[in-house]
């Protein structure tokens, strides 16, 4: 899908919100792609972390809302320790998740989880999963 970059598609407020939530200066990213090369989840992503950073720099809120990347991120911090520009991309992903979760929207619905799916799960899986993916 072509990306239309214009004042109409670029949401400055959204960019500021992500900056405020993450505390990370994502404009420093120079698109080297180290994050994409380091991410263990790439084969499951609609857009690699490098592209997420580019979309964010351009304020492309619609495109960012469509991709699954923040929801597949496991906060493993590999991108963060390797970023040559010192951007904590895990914080940016958290900020992107929170822009949705704070509208009182759950990404996973705890009540829909089947007992047989969760019976063996360790408590930390539930606590961390709900912390990251529910409002």
């Amino acid at each position: 899908m072509p990306l239309i970059i214009s004042r109409r598609t670029s949401d400055e407020k959204f960019r500021e919100k992500v900056l405020e939530l993450s505390g990370e200066e994502f404009m420093k990213c120079f698109q080297c792609g180290t994050c994409s090369g380091s991410c263990p989840m790439t084969e499951h992503l609609d857009a690699f972390p490098r592209k997420v950073m580019a979309l964010l720099q351009l304020g492309q809120i619609d495109a960012l809302n469509e991709i699954n990347t923040p929801w597949v991120c496991a906060s493993c911090h590999t991108c963060m320790v390797r970023c040559p520009r010192g951007v904590d991309i895990t914080k940016v992903m958290e900020a992107l998740r929170l822009t949705k979760l704070r509208q009182n929207v759950n990404h996973i619905e705890p009540s829909n989880l089947q007992p047989e799916e969760i019976i063996d799960l360790p408590q930390i899986a539930m606590v961390s999963g709900f912390r990251k993916m529910t409002s």
């Binding site: 084969e43 590999t78 930390i124």
Partner: protein
């Protein structure tokens, strides 16, 4: 020096094999500790949003409990708890503005400013006990066991709380060597197992975990050694799903470093709770005659 032990929510039930084996090893090594009174869940993950201080209350409250008990060090076994408590401790030590807000909010608690040292048991073994003492206590050396040290994420990243070099750690390797085992190096030793994505994207978590095990197996490992109950679930418990889904998937014994320690120290096998591991784990140890030697 007084040592507080923080168990965390999973270690009393699903990861009893991590806790009971570790506490038996504490006793065998002469570690004096006290389980923290009235501990609460640390929250499992450290909050990454700049404005989210409410989720710091749980881990900070745990640290306050340890300080109240007169401790100067908190030791954890679960690597997720380690990460959350260590990062909360750093925040309270280094961020004056946030520290003041959190202390003001928790006005029923004494003020806290990151006075404690938060360590993982692997650090404690190296820095406070020392590998020489561990080696001297080994009664049942793991000779000939090829063990893949799996570090995962939360012991190594971010670097402020890393127990060792985030890119080329050796701590777990040194531990295995101290017990007489052989190291199997593999590229996925620091790669994420998918963590909590077992809830949101279970198939993605299964695939990354499968890649880790395949790598360890291809490099000739007899077993994978880990430190985290969530890694244990993804890499151990979910192997049944991998065996069904991926052609050529092999059963790989997976165990906690503390179980390995208890075996090497010759502690009663009951302390290891191997019933919570894959059957192949106890079968492997039996086949190497590592359990027969253990006095009942």
């Amino acid at each position: 020096m007084k040592l507080s032990y923080y168990p965390g929510c999973t270690l009393k039930t699903k990861a009893k094999n991590l806790e009971v084996s570790a506490l038996a090893a504490f006793d065998a090594l002469g570690v004096e500790y006290e389980e923290m009174q009235r501990w609460n869940c640390c929250g499992a993950v450290f909050s990454l949003a700049d404005d989210d201080l409410i989720h710091m209350v749980a881990p900070v409250r745990d640290l306050v409990r340890a300080k109240e008990a007169g401790s100067d060090t908190v030791v954890t076994l679960c690597s997720m708890c380690y990460n959350t408590l260590a990062r909360a401790n750093d925040l309270m030590k280094n961020d004056k503005e946030k520290r003041n807000t959190i202390n003001d909010f928790m006005d029923e608690e004494p003020d806290y400013a990151g006075e404690l040292r938060v360590v993982h048991f692997l650090n404690y073994l190296r820095d406070d006990i020392g590998w020489d003492k561990v080696k001297a206590a080994v009664k049942n050396p793991l000779t000939g066991m090829k063990l893949a040290p799996y570090y995962g994420c939360t012991l190594l990243r971010p670097k402020e709380v890393a127990i060792d070099s985030p890119d080329s750690p050796v701590l777990l390797n040194e531990f295995i060597e101290a017990l007489g085992g052989e190291i199997t190096d593999f590229a996925h030793a620091n790669t994420c197992c998918g963590s909590y994505q077992v809830l949101g994207n279970p198939e993605a978590a299964l695939k990354v975990s499968y890649d880790i095990l395949t790598d360890a197996s291809a490099n000739g490992a007899d077993a994978l050694v880990l430190t985290c109950p969530l890694c244990d679930y993804n890499l151990g418990r979910r192997q049944d799903a991998m065996l069904k889904k991926y052609e050529g998937a092999k059963d790989m014994p997976v165990l906690y470093f503390t179980q390995l320690l208890a075996v090497a120290l010759g502690l009663p096998v009951e302390t290891c709770h191997f019933e919570l591991n894959r059957n192949s784990t106890i079968e492997l140890l039996q086949s190497r005659n590592l359990l027969e030697k253990v006095p009942a």
